[in-house]
Symmetry: C2
């Protein structure tokens, strides 16, 4: 079988409307759930080795439309990881202090140190997504950001950070059902935000902005993956598999035994 990293890597030319968000790569639900369980355990081991080696780090960037499952992926895929070596950072509407800096300032401060896994729940990509769709900054500004992002990610990659960028792809109909579920189930009301409904009007603009961002900022040292996410079980399995393949590709090793240490006796 083709690896998930190969199968889900963003194409050179991105048109999200042409990519099926219900795709499952031939997997069925039962196999998908089993794959996730196996990978969650494997991620525990790989994360341990990353921490023990202490020389490189992993940065996972999660982007998606509302309800596509950023939070769900973090809960289902990352919960088995030792919290000591990982940190999730959620980037929300920038604060006045953050806005008084360049857009990568708050991002840079949150990148994982060597040994760690960092997960970005939203990221610097918002600055070429909502910032573009809602004209928060001028076209001149958001246009130059694509290159600024590429150079920033290249710096991280050259400094020992393996970068994985994941777009969770759902369609507009699936989002409607998920928003409706937050309304219909009283225990989920607290997740409902009226803005989410308003943002739906801009769906097509967002798809265009996402296509551009993914296409312009995909690189072998900072690849974008497009994960079909209409089916939650496939989404979780696919993200776990991308992470396992990526960490396996790093060929992590715990440090060599220390010569002569074995002679020491503690008293």
């Amino acid at each position: 079988m083709k690896s998930f990293c190969e199968a889900l890597r963003a194409p050179k030319k991105v048109d999200l409307d042409k990519l099926d968000p219900s795709e499952t790569l031939g997997l069925d639900k039962k196999k998908g759930i089993a794959l996730l369980a196996k990978n969650v355990e494997e991620l525990g081991t790989l994360g341990y080795n990353l921490y023990a080696e202490g020389k490189r780090s992993l940065l996972v960037v999660l982007q998606a439309m509302d309800t596509a499952g950023k939070d769900g992926v973090i809960r289902h895929v990352m919960t088995g990881l030792n919290p000591m070596g990982m940190r999730v950072t959620a980037f929300k509407v920038p604060t006045p202090i953050e806005l008084a800096h360049d857009f990568l300032w708050r991002i840079h401060a949150a990148v994982p140190p060597h040994g760690d896994i960092g997960v970005f729940n939203r990221s610097h990509y918002e600055d070429v997504l909502i910032a573009r769709v809602k004209s928060i900054v001028s076209k001149t500004i958001w246009t130059q950001r694509y290159n600024q992002i590429r150079e920033f990610e290249a710096l991280l990659a050259e400094s020992g950070t393996t970068i994985v960028k994941i777009f969770l792809h759902i369609d507009k109909h699936e989002q409607a059902e998920r928003l409706q579920a937050r309304i219909d189930d009283p225990t989920k009301n607290w997740k409902f935000q009226a803005e989410d409904v308003k943002e739906r009007e801009f769906w097509d603009d967002y798809m265009k902005a996402y296509s551009a961002a993914i296409e312009k900022c995909d690189a072998d040292s900072a690849p974008w993956y497009i994960v079909p996410s209409n089916r939650k079980w496939f989404r979780n399995a696919a993200v776990s598999q991308i992470l396992v393949e990526t960490l396996q590709g790093m060929k992590l090793k715990i440090p060599e035994p220390i010569p002569g240490l074995a002679d020491i006796k503690i008293v």
Copy 2:
């Protein structure tokens, strides 16, 4: 049965030499492992409710001599928690920038926001432990820190943070065995640090400093618990039970349904 929080709460007068680090409160290993498993699942639910409520936070301070199991507790007890609502901060030797501030500066920056669980792997207590034992600061300085810590923790408690401080108690003989294991097992060599052996010379001074810190900074709004930790299975079970009892005591609730929301239909 007495709750673990009651049974392990630091006494008014603390003398660590008089507290048995092999105590198991009548639990055997099989029951301890089952209790941990049950609590890890329960912590997932309680953490979800804390996050959903979004109005209060939990701060867990872990302190211990080397090898007592701070890392082990984080791995075994916290791994089931959703990493989105929790953050582990490891406080190491202060950097020059940190040293140019008061000792609580870096600590304050890391306290969990509402909705989150924060875990401190070492903490501001190092500033009345190693700082005292190794005379890193004068007696005048470390003496006034006890009150500074009490006031700082009172601020947090009054601002919606529930504080749980845990000392993992092992004896010097148990530490020798664990250090030796890091030497004898080549795959654990990377965890071995020569300083850990040197610190053993100051064991009695550390016990005195710990006794003083726990005694002076124990408060109903920021309690210290002394967890017998010679047996790893008991240590993990006991910490998980203290956290479950504490979170249950907060009577967390997910927010009420939003009136009128049920009438909305997403199109």
